[in-house]
């Protein structure tokens, strides 16, 4: 023990860090902030530390070469002892880090912590969010499988739409004319050197500002932030009702961080690592690329936006979002902090959460994507075939062989790109069915060139049988009047 003491004295005489560290640990924070609501920032830092350690461990085996990366992931998963577990920790750590960063941001926003004098803390926080997203995207690329390959294609296609600079941006992004070795190398450099370096720098500045300016006090409805007296009031609060940061506040941080690490380990153990899916071979086109969980909302947005709006929204949307986030502390740098008195702030968060949640949920079904193998893999339900005439059965064959099933569901089986056809005969008359099939329309391609008259007649006959027994078929009113005497 005495030896330890002497060693620490020896070190402190040279480093002289003891006093500033003690001062930081004991700096007074408002008593209310020693709260379970204030643990997310430190948890994000803890998970980042986990990512650093597991990232370095993965780099011991991973080969950042387009020809070798996928194989090295297989070696990690199957040959290296517990390689799968380190990969799983890193993958789940990434998801947890993004989630915690987002929760931290929502908490800071709802507690008004971005207001005077903590504007710069918020701005650095926005940068940290962007970098965390950047790490998630580049990390998804390093898991160099078919999803990563085609995901890069989507990234390149989006960048190419930038007016004037598009083609140059694509080559800068890919490091050449195609997605290949240079692309993986530069994403490796971004994921391992550039973004983490910037992240550590901004994280240090972010924490420094928290220490310099003090932890945001618990917002009280009606206690307004005003530039001329906020600092005085804050210091008065920490003097009269302050507690030392260590141990009053920090024990909750430590417990929560530990809990999160435990959750990550549990997910890693139970669910295992993410992928890799198929090899990044552009010749293998039997694939349906999907982004990782946190980019699913973007996948939905890209499918659902009207084509004409897509480029403006993709290129201008992020810029506007960034400007709004950066301008926020300057637009509302003073005034009410409590979320109880800021209904628009609460509604904004709810709106964004509902929108992102809806998009993410939609993207997990992807109703806009044709089911590429429904024509061969999804049979027509028997009840829709029984009791049909030979012509109608022939029509069902046409339906199946012409891949109508890829976009249209029958009995809940098949694609959702077009409307379900279980009751199509209620909506369309026989003539309208033929017209729709031959000429297309709405979002449906025209099949006129690919169906001979016999096939068309059979298909229309089959579709004409698709109506519930309780609902009559659609009839052409003009024909009906002809038929009547």
């Amino acid at each position: 023990m005495r030896l330890m003491h002497e060693l620490s004295d020896w070190l402190d005489q040279r480093l002289q860090l003891g006093a500033p560290i003690r001062e930081t640990m004991q700096h007074p924070v408002p008593r209310d902030t020693a709260s379970w609501f204030y643990v997310f920032g430190s948890a994000a830092m803890t998970v980042f530390a986990l990512q650093l350690v597991t990232g370095i461990l993965l780099a011991l085996i991973y080969v950042p070469s387009a020809g070798e990366a996928w194989n090295s992931l297989q070696i990690l998963n199957h040959q290296v002892t517990l390689g799968w577990f380190i990969r799983a920790l890193h993958g789940w750590g990434s998801n947890f880090m993004l989630a915690i960063v987002l929760i931290h941001m929502v908490q800071v926003f709802l507690f008004g912590a971005y207001k005077y004098p903590r504007e710069l803390t918020w701005i650095f926080g926005v940068f940290l969010l962007l970098m965390t997203l950047g790490m998630a995207f580049t990390g998804q690329v390093l898991r160099f499988d078919e999803d990563a390959y085609w995901g890069l294609g989507i990234g390149a296609s989006i960048s190419s739409r930038t007016p004037g600079l598009g083609p140059a941006l694509v080559k800068l992004l890919l490091g050449g004319p195609i997605i290949a070795g240079a692309t993986l190398s530069r994403f490796f450099a971004l994921h391992v050197f550039v973004i983490p370096g910037a992240l550590i720098l901004f994280m240090a500045l972010h924490v420094l500002l928290v220490l310099k300016l003090g932890v945001n006090e618990w917002p009280m409805p009606g206690r307004l932030v005003r530039r001329f007296d906020y600092l005085q009031k804050y210091h008065a609060l920490t003097r009269t009702d302050g507690v030392p940061f260590v141990p009053y506040a920090v024990w909750k941080d430590a417990v929560f961080s530990g809990l999160i690490l435990l959750c990550i380990a549990a997910c890693a153990l139970y669910f295992g690592p993410f992928g890799p899916s198929g090899q990044p071979d552009p010749r293998v086109i039997q694939t349906a690329p999907r982004p990782d969980y946190f980019f699913l909302w973007l996948y939905a947005l890209l499918s659902l936006l009207p084509p004409a709006l897509e480029t403006p929204v993709l290129l201008i949307g992020p810029v506007i979002a960034l400007i709004v986030l950066l301008a926020l502390p300057f637009i509302s740098g003073e005034g009410e902090k409590s979320w109880k008195k800021r209904p628009i702030a609460v509604l904004t968060i709810l709106l964004i959460a509902v929108a992102l949640g809806t998009f993410t949920n939609l993207a997990s079904h992807a109703p806009w994507s044709p089911v590429m193998d429904a024509g061969t893999g999804a049979p027509i339900p028997l009840k829709l075939l029984s009791g049909r005439t030979p012509l109608q059965i022939q029509g069902a064959l046409v339906f199946q062989s012409k891949q109508c099933h890829n976009c249209h569901a029958l009995g809940e089986i098949g694609g959702k790109r077009g409307p379900d056809l279980d009751a199509v005969a209620v909506r369309l008359t026989a003539d309208q069915l033929v017209r729709q099939v031959l000429q297309g329309g709405g979002n449906m391609p025209a099949y006129g060139n690919n169906l001979n008259p016999a096939e068309t007649t059979a298909l229309a006959a089959f579709l004409g049988t698709l109506h519930p027994s309780t609902q009559a078929k659609a009839q052409d009113a003009s024909r009906m009047s002809e038929a009547q005497p």
Binding site: Y149, L172, G181, Q279, R283, P289, L302, W368, S369, M444
Partner: protein, 180 residues
């Protein structure tokens, strides 16, 4: 030792030293920027496009659309399989071909050919194209990208080398009449 106007000899020397470092920085910065921009500038100097063979035209029966692959003309050993690019070859009749990029004109996903329905379908966001590559439905704003082709010694050659993207002026290529 300070002088009355506030600019001491030492301060002057410091400013000169900063200026000197600034000049050195610019001198070093130019090659760094050129290095970073090399994937872009190389394209301007010699271009990435070149003529490559997809093999004998006998492999592409008249009236059919088939998948063909080629190794990208600009490729390194470390590129592995990523340099192997696929494309769809449609042989209409005689010397008339259409060679479509595998990449959807929306966001680059691989389109698949369904001969029975005569459609190319994209698995990502639901784009669909007719047999001649023109847009049928979905989010794409244009038809499939087409490679210029020619037939040399009974071999089908295409001009390729760059991933086609919506922003690349590949749109002009489709308007160009196929050169035989």
């Amino acid at each position: 030792m300070s002088v009355p106007d506030g600019l001491s000899r030492r301060n002057m020397l410091l400013r000169l030293a900063m200026l000197f470092n600034g000049v050195v920085g610019v001198v070093l910065g130019i090659p760094v920027v050129r290095y970073i921009l090399s994937p872009v500038t190389r394209g301007r100097q010699s271009g990435y496009q070149s003529w490559i063979s997809l093999g004998s035209i006998d492999q592409f029966p008249s009236g059919q659309t088939r998948l063909a692959t080629y190794r990208n003309p600009v490729a390194n050993a470390s590129d592995g399989e990523t340099a192997e690019i696929a494309c769809w070859v449609r042989h209409t009749d005689g010397d008339h071909f259409q060679v479509f990029a595998i990449n959807c004109a929306h966001l680059g996903c691989p389109v698949r050919w369904f001969p029975q329905s005569g459609l190319f379908m994209c698995p990502c966001h639901g784009g669909a194209y007719y047999a001649d590559g023109s847009r049928a439905s979905g989010p794409p704003e244009r038809g499939l990208f087409e490679y210029p082709f020619k037939i040399l010694d009974g071999k089908l050659q295409i001009q390729a080398g760059e991933m086609p993207t919506p922003g690349l002026s590949a749109g002009n290529r489709t308007k160009r009449p196929p050169c035989a």
